[in-house]
Symmetry: C2
Subunit: 229 residues, 2 copies
DNA sequence: CCAAAAGTGTTAGGCTTACACCCATGA
DNA sequence: TCATGGGTGTAAGCCTAACACTTTTGG
């Protein structure tokens, strides 16, 4: 085989780190591999990039197939290309991070049903391939991103309390935050809309519900603002 | 041809945005293409990734071949994979940013000689392929990085004055900085060593020369510090 | 002695952090 | 009435930003 042809004995894939937030824990969606290599290992969902498909469309396709979600937060993080990362051949993989609301996810039934599951990110280990490394990298990216722009709202329901938001940030950053300072900071950014509604049926003083204001956010993004937590 | 085989009709490449700093301007190393497609266009140096080479080794190889430099600052930035970005076929390319000292660069003579040149980053336009987009992305990455960690020293000679450093930051960030505040900030980071030497042969008060202290930097990186300019 | 760039401190305002108690609800 | 989490303000310290003059050298 000619040297030139060699270049084409490789493939590229995408792998998707899909974050959700549930019961105060940051979760990641994993699939259980049914085949060799790494049979029965848990792995990040991914696929080869189709020959006639834009790179970015590949992780969108994977995510939609898996969860039914059509428009999602999706961010390319890093490309992993060690020579022997895939036992069956040369595969370079582009990692994507996405954020979804776990309640909107309808895990596809049938064949997938038993093999797709949410895992608390803190309890994940020994994934297939180099997926531990990819997950660690994406988790770190998320920590960085969340301190620079108000992503994270994608993980919550449409309306949420400030405590929900704080729980989320604490889960992502793996730290405790001061309640008063957190609220001051978030409200001063002027990206939340007070819905004038309250929580119902909770055994304590009900909290106000807020929505994320995409328009204000877009405006601030253009005109520059900071988002350090 | 089977569907499976289709996946292997693609290739991956790397493209290298090599920054230098000269005469107070931020520069980028470009090559002039000798062949179709985009014959006679200027382009970012790059190559296909060899089948038996780690991904990261590819941009190192390109850079060493082009400049003779063996160890360089090298950072993966983003992977570009639009379907038609390369007219001859499906090529996904991983962009890398590197920083070199222009004085250490020995542009390889012979065949390359006339076709490799430093360009002021502000004057570059109409590159081959999607290289304008790649360059813009990497320039923006550099602006971000330089405000979070003290990269940039790679662009200067081993010893430099605080004004050199300020000129560099101003070129990268495309802004003016306050001299007193800049000095206070940099010196307070405690990552410079005063060489106790002075500039020579300048027609004004000679400036102190400093060196970057890699050890202190590594220590601070581990123990956390911020680097906002 | 002139031109050129080096070098140097202070102040005001804004942001960050630390910290403790009362409130509204369901059980 | 108790348990639970919701909601609120202030003060100290730190960091940032604005700002102008003297020093040293070569020509």
């Amino acid at each position: 085989m000619s040297q030139q042809k060699q270049y084409f004995k490789s493939a590229f894939s995408v792998d998707n780190v899909i974050f959700g937030f549930d019961e105060r824990a940051l979760m990641v969606l994993l699939i259980k591999r049914g085949e060799q290599p790494y049979q029965n290992y848990w792995a990040l969902p991914g696929d080869l990039v189709y020959p006639e498909e834009d790179l970015r469309d590949a992780p969108m396709r994977v995510l939609t197939q898996l969860t039914g979600i059509e428009d999602m937060y999706l961010e390319q993080t890093k490309t992993f290309g060690k020579l022997n990362r895939h036992p069956s051949g040369r595969v370079i993989t582009v990692a994507y991070l996405s954020l979804v609301n776990v309640n909107q996810v309808k895990l596809v039934p049938s064949s997938f049903a038993n093999t797709v599951r949410w895992f608390p990110v803190k309890k994940i280990e020994s994934l297939a391939f180099d997926h531990d490394e990819i997950l660690a990298y994406c988790l770190n990216s998320l920590k960085q991103s969340v301190q620079q722009k108000p992503i994270g709202f994608e993980l919550l329901s449409e309306s949420f309390t400030l405590s929900d938001l704080q729980d989320l940030y604490e889960a992502i950053l793996d730290t405790k935050l001061d309640k008063r300072n957190f609220r001051k900071k978030i409200l001063s950014m002027d990206i939340l809309i007070d819905t004038d509604e309250l929580q119902k049926g909770v055994a304590h003083r009900p909290a106000r519900l807020y929505r994320f204001d995409q328009n204000k956010y877009d405006y601030l993004k253009q005109n520059g603002f900071s988002f350090g937590i």
